[in-house]
Symmetry: D2
């Protein structure tokens, strides 16, 4: 069977379609995809996946994890034909971690109603009832709700389209810097397809001999820049720059310059003038 | 009479000495100097001024304004023979504005006692009494005192010597960037004597035809970097970069890159790679 | 079969024992009790329940909900022979709601290991692993952890025994006031056994004709006192006074006086001088 | 000469008028009064003082200290013919201490302009200029201004008339309790004229043998109620209950009950049921 996922590339819609066509018995209940994979910084072409499901004439639910993209990247749930979306508070919404969101359309709700597995806390029907919070949910997480109200106020004040344009602009600056850094071959953008690079997080792969964990320590301790390490199989192979949420031009430029300083302090032979390229990208974006 | 102050240069100690020697009648009561002049970013050689007063055998008090340098730059009041020092909360001490400090030695206190001008709020003797706050000062500014306690805790945790080393390191990065920018002649460091450049603030003079106020607007609105304008006679001639207090490597690099972006957006022909020079200065400083 | 619960009384240990003796096949897996029932303000005699399980020689786990009593009332899990305890952040621990705690002893862990039902998030073994938070739990709820650290610091500074003594003292004041109010028969303490009255919350039952919801509105709107209503079957029959967590003498006296004001404004014929009785209880308790 | 001030009574307008009539040479520049004297809790009849100045046909400025009454009590500066009013941030305005206000009418400004005494910081003309904060005042006290904005927002949301009605209502409750306590003669309201009792603070005089400082310690340590001591000549003779600013029914009832508890713990033979009287006053006031 054709593999839908290859490192550095978005999910292969053709492989998804093939797998669904193979499932004549409709044993596959749902297609789960991540809009932005936080480990790789690779995004998924949701419209292509929807088209694949439709082309296969398969009834599977289309479930999308928008944890790392919610508010940062456009996501038109209904227009995209997404049945269930799952998000969280601590990324683009800028709230402290601890709150998750589920949006489900009528098709998904019908699917849930037909599911007879016992459940209480996770029961959508119970949750949607008017008296849910009094009869079932117990004490609501008030600090999260207050934080969410404040964060949505910030987003409304800036404008959702402007928030997403800012994320795109800052991501272009990061990608421009990383492209410069890649000139010598010592490191490269993990996601090979430019249009699949996330507006939220960028993973940069290092060549053997470069220790991304040591780089992270120097960046944090000497230059006050916190960058993330690789998760799971990518541990030791990549470092990641997050650029979502409460983030602006000066912050991302400081981050990129700090990463350059850390790479220089570590003796990594990276391609120079990445910050210049980022500055240029921002100047063009502001024009 | 020889002028003690010339733009871009520290106070001329020889001119101070000459003026004091001319004052045979000792009508000059005090020599007032600013350790760091916040408008020009120029510092004063306090030891040289003290030596000038001593050489002139003049009894004038030596009064130093340390508002913009307190905590950021070394200041050994007694060793420097300073009689009165005046500081404030809102710069190197990182507290909100509204609190000022006066330190006076025995000589200054004797001088104040001999002063018969009526005063109440500003009366040092009254203030120094045990019951000052109950009998005289009224309600203390509690939020400032709490802020000061927190700020002094931060400084103690980092170590005063480390705080001052950090200020020196960040200032070197700013001066390195500004020196690069100056290569084309479009702008220059206002303080011409390198050792007189402040660790707190750097003033950068622009050539005619460049509007520093327009540059500030672009920096703030497009790149989220707040830089200061020129004060009084320097208005329209300089812009200033503050680098004191709660400031670190990533923040100052973001600021410098943002200023580069703003200069580029404004079409200013500045010398390139200033951020690179700042990165190099920080890498060397961290070594 | 004998009922273990009767309104206004603690759980009947003899009824629990009888039910366990009847269960020769050991189909009962666990005895669940609430240390303090937040709806009724009635506490459970945990030692008596433990003794009942032992007397019946039944292997059921002893599971205790300490949500409304944790930190407020003594709870010696091991000495009481409790196998699992479940607590939460938002009551005696004074943290915002959203965090729950489970403590399980070796017996309970062995029971869980033998349970083959699939689970991920709720899997104790997975949770207890060293890498739990990195490999499994996702992003930790940082604001809750910071709040918990602060709250435990407050409790440690006051002393856990002192915290519990304070809860007992304030509860005595509330019970003294409510006993006074009961003199006319218009209302009464819901928990009839004095030693079963909770140190966390007190439910007060009103006679027919008195609307506790109207009383709550007047208390809140005219006298700035928030009292709780009845939950589930007790709705419209009781109002409740919470007296746990960040609570002191002045606060509880203000609450009791505000409730008296609201009862007076509503024309309820309550027994007078309840606040006086509470004051007396506090003066005696402070002696 | 007749004394304008007698303990427990408001300023005697007739004495003021007599003193001004005696001043044929107009050497008296200003009549200074305090609207609410924070030490005694006695208020001044500002209209009577204005009438006294007018009756004496004296040109003295009428200067009123509204520190302890601003926002809490009505003050119509122009209608009352007040020339200068002096307020502060930390009382009725609920902002942290450190900010003071001066309001001056045209007459007072002309008086100030005619004053040739050198001054800089306190110079009203300089302060009123458009560029005052840039050219003269230095860095503004930003945290105070932000606090003031928030506090004025609270006052506007509640309504100034409602804020003042609340102060009057809470003061009546305190006066009712203190009147009850006075029944045995052990203590009494310091201000003997009921209409001169302040809505902001109430001073209660104790009989010889009662130590108000010991009472304050017990109130604070055992019952979590902070009451103030006597200032200056009233030290050891009175204790004071503040009831202004961010204060509500439940808070003031808790305070009064806590004072009763402390008096009981100290064995003071006060008249009982003061809290009942306060509750009654609040119920009547809410009706």
């Amino acid at each position: 069977m054709r593999t839908a996922y290859r490192e550095g590339f978005p999910i292969d819609a053709a492989a998804v379609e093939a797998a669904l066509r193979d499932d004549a018995a409709h044993r596959i209940g749902a297609v789960f995809v991540v809009q932005t994979d936080t480990a790789s910084g690779t995004t998924c072409d949701l419209a292509a996946i929807r088209a694949a499901i439709d082309a296969a004439r398969h009834p599977a639910l289309f479930v999308v994890d928008v944890v790392a993209s919610l508010a940062a990247a456009p996501f038109a749930m209904d227009a995209l034909g997404v049945d269930v979306a799952i998000g969280a508070s601590q990324k683009g919404l800028m709230v402290h971690p601890g709150l998750a969101f589920v949006a489900a359309n009528e098709r998904a709700l019908a699917f849930a109603r037909a599911n007879l597995t016992p459940r209480f806390y996770w029961d959508w029907e119970r949750r949607r009832s008017d008296l849910s919070y009094r009869k079932f949910c117990g004490t609501p997480p008030l600090a999260h709700l207050a934080g969410l109200e404040a964060a949505l106020g910030l987003i409304a004040a800036e404008g959702l389209a402007e928030v997403q344009a800012r994320h795109a602009r800052l991501a272009r600056a990061v990608h421009a810097a990383a492209t410069c850094w890649s000139a010598t071959g010592a490191l490269r953008l993990f996601t090979q397809v430019p249009e699949a690079r996330s507006v939220s997080v960028t993973a940069i792969e290092v060549s053997p001999g470069i220790d991304p964990e040591a780089l992270r320590s120097v960046a944090r301790e000497c230059f006050q820049v916190a960058i993330a390490g690789g998760l799971g199989p990518l541990h030791g192979r990549v470092f990641r720059i997050g650029h979502l949420g409460d983030m602006n031009e000066a912050m991302i430029l400081g981050c990129l310059a700090g990463v350059e300083a850390a790479m220089q302090a570590q003796g990594i032979a990276f391609g120079r003038h990445g910050v210049d390229a980022a500055v240029r990208a921002l100047v063009d974006g502001a024009g």
